[in-house]
């Protein structure tokens, strides 16, 4: 079974030959990985994204023994887009990403100065919104994806479908936005609807270009959970937020299926999100990422029992404690437990529960993959 078959078999709730595995590396851990795998000839920072994640070269994917090629859209350009000397930038929506140094010589981009913090509904009409037809967003994608499809057997995960709720949070600022969804719902609906329509059209444009190469379409981050509870109440989610997300997700899936009827939809939503899972299933989400262990009510055995027939789990290897601070033995146990809980019957794609940050050594990640190759073979036989 090749990687793509393995991924798609698991994504269809059937048992492949072994549990599929993948990961996204941020820039520091990528550089460490080059050293550990003796691949110093690879580029320094291949297409670094907003979260400092890099495009892992095919050669590294193969040597590491993982199953998925991730691809992000290129940046769109608008009246807002701007780069600063310190590495900070403003994106096409007008959100300012400040380059911020963190301990040990690392850095990250953090959101500051939300552009719509003081906006009214009327201001939404005069705002310069990104152009969904902007061809810069998909420049070169088709060639790249065609090459991956033709020269490898990797599954292709496209991080193309944009966010609504989370983007509204960026544009409005967290505090203001969370108050809007309670005390200013008319504005909240207007903003989410505006964003949703742009994202829908953007998806149509990109899918027409590359949809045939997409195995998994990753809906962009709609983080709905905190560590110890959902970010918003299930009641507010259903009443205020869900209608907009459902509109986007159903449309994204329908659009994608015009070009690849077998493809799956993945939603990234961090944290304690258990109360929302039935809503996600109802809205057509096939795969849930990252199934954050350690967040409240996210016990892997209970999730599999409750929702394993209806949704596929992606991620689940702890990145808050085990990967950065645990020993190799801790990682072995974590991988074993995740496989034991989630892999039976298929429906599990194993990965670190987020883009891997600079506080995790590449050696540990190699060990994680080796564990999957060792314990992840079907039929699963772990006690």
């Amino acid at each position: 079974m090749n990687s793509r078959e393995r991924v798609m078999t698991a994504a269809n709730h059937r048992e492949p030959d072994r549990v599929p595995v993948d990961m996204v590396l941020t820039i520091d851990v990528y550089r460490d990985m080059k050293k550990v795998l003796n691949m110093e000839h690879l580029p320094e920072s291949p297409r670094m994204g907003r979260w400092t994640e890099v495009q892992m070269p095919i050669e590294m994917i193969k040597k590491l023994g993982i199953d998925m090629y991730y691809i992000s859209p290129r940046s769109g350009v608008s009246i807002h887009t701007k780069s600063f000397d310190d590495g900070s930038f403003i994106d096409e929506w007008g959100c300012y990403w400040k380059k911020t140094a963190i301990d040990g010589g690392h850095f990250y981009f953090e959101l500051v100065n939300p552009p719509l913090e003081n906006a009214t509904i009327a201001d939404l009409d005069s705002y310069d919104w990104p152009d969904p037809e902007d061809p810069k967003r998909y420049a070169g994608l088709k060639e790249e994806m065609k090459e991956v499809r033709e020269t490898t057997d990797l599954a292709i995960l496209a991080k193309f479908a944009g966010a609504v709720f989370e983007l509204a949070t960026y544009m409005r600022g967290h505090e203001r936005w969370y108050r809007d969804i309670i005390n200013n719902q008319e504005f909240a609906h207007a903003l989410m609807d505006r964003i949703c329509q742009i994202q829908k059209r953007t998806n149509e444009v990109i899918m027409a270009e590359v949809g045939e190469y997409v195995d998994i379409l990753r809906l962009s981050g709609e983080d709905l959970g905190m560590q110890d509870r959902p970010l918003i109440s299930p009641k507010t989610f259903k009443k205020v937020v869900k209608p907009h997300l459902q509109e986007l997700w159903e449309h994204a899936k329908k659009t994608l299926h015009q070009y690849n009827p077998e493809a799956k939809i993945m939603l990234h939503t961090c944290g304690a999100v258990r109360p929302f899972i039935p809503d996600l299933i109802e809205s057509g989400v096939d795969i849930l990422d990252p199934v954050q262990p350690g967040a409240k009510d996210m016990n892997r055995f209970e999730l599999k029992a409750a929702f394993g027939d209806a949704i596929v789990f992606h991620g689940n290897i702890d990145i808050q404690k085990i990967l950065p601070f645990g020993s190799k033995e801790d990682i072995t146990n974590e991988v074993r437990e995740a496989i034991k809980a989630l892999a039976p019957g298929g429906g599990f794609l194993l990965a670190p529960a987020h883009n891997v940050q600079g506080d995790v050594s590449a050696e540990k990640l190699v060990h994680m993959v080796n564990c999957v190759h060792e314990f992840g073979n079907y039929p699963i036989q772990l006690d």
Binding site: K98, T100, A101, I102, D103, G104, H106, Y108, E110, L111, V112, H174, E175, Y178, R179, I181, I182, N183, M226, Q227, D228, R229, P230, L231, I232, S233, T236, K296, I319, Q320, K321, P324, F325, Q357, G358, D359
Partner: protein, 211 residues
């Protein structure tokens, strides 16, 4: 007084738009500024407790905090100096490299809601700035917000900065944030850990009451 009860309820409901009028109404009806403040703080105490028991969510809590802020704006000019005496002073900030402020702001508003004076020194705060602010404001507590595994190593630097300045025994150092645990707090030699904003407010009140 019926109106004071209504203020407590409105604070709990987080209606930031209704609060200023209610406060004015209460004063007009003869309530003292301190009584009105107490009524709002009663509401905030319930919000903090329920949040700690996982019964409330961030958006609702934020609305309550903003209702408190809106009410306080009306009240402030009316409070006498003795009314306005704080339980204690807290220096609050997100540690260096951490640009996250929602958790910090929430803690700040909750602390104020429980009667503490809060000096918010912002995000991305180097260890020595915590020390400077603590000295300048004669703080009782220094509260550090740490949201990332990658900014956790800032914690010992903050503790060390207070040791180096010779004032470690004069302030209590509190830490909180998603990756923080009691075990980490103990290991770093901090004085208190709070799992959320409600718990942080209760903890801070307990710390200054003990002192």
């Amino acid at each position: 007084m019926e109106i004071l009860k209504k203020i407590t309820e409105t604070l709990y409901d987080g209606d930031e738009f209704a609060m200023p009028e209610l406060v004015k109404e209460a004063i007009k009806a003869g309530a003292s500024p301190q009584q009105v403040l107490d009524a709002m703080m009663d509401g905030m105490a319930i919000v903090g407790d329920e949040f700690s028991r996982d019964e409330l969510y961030i958006p609702e809590v934020l609305c309550s905090c903003h209702a408190m802020m809106e009410g306080s704006k009306i009240l402030k000019p009316l409070l006498t100096d003795s009314d306005a005496k704080a339980l204690g002073t807290v220096i609050l900030g997100s540690v260096q490299g951490d640009m996250h402020d929602i958790g910090k702001n929430l803690v700040g508003m909750m602390l104020e809601g429980r009667g503490l004076k809060v000096i918010d020194i912002g995000i991305d705060v180097p260890a020595e700035k915590f020390v400077e602010a603590a000295i300048k404001h004669q703080a009782d507590i220094v509260a550090c917000s740490i949201l990332l595994t990658t900014t956790m190593p800032e914690t010992p630097k903050v503790v060390k900065a207070f040791v180096d300045a010779g004032i470690r025994d004069q302030v209590k150092i509190m830490i909180g944030g998603a990756p923080i645990t009691q075990e980490f707090c103990d290991r770093m030699g901090c004085d208190a850990y709070a799992k959320d904003a409600g718990a942080a407010a209760a903890m801070a009140v307990a710390l200054v009451s003990k002192a």
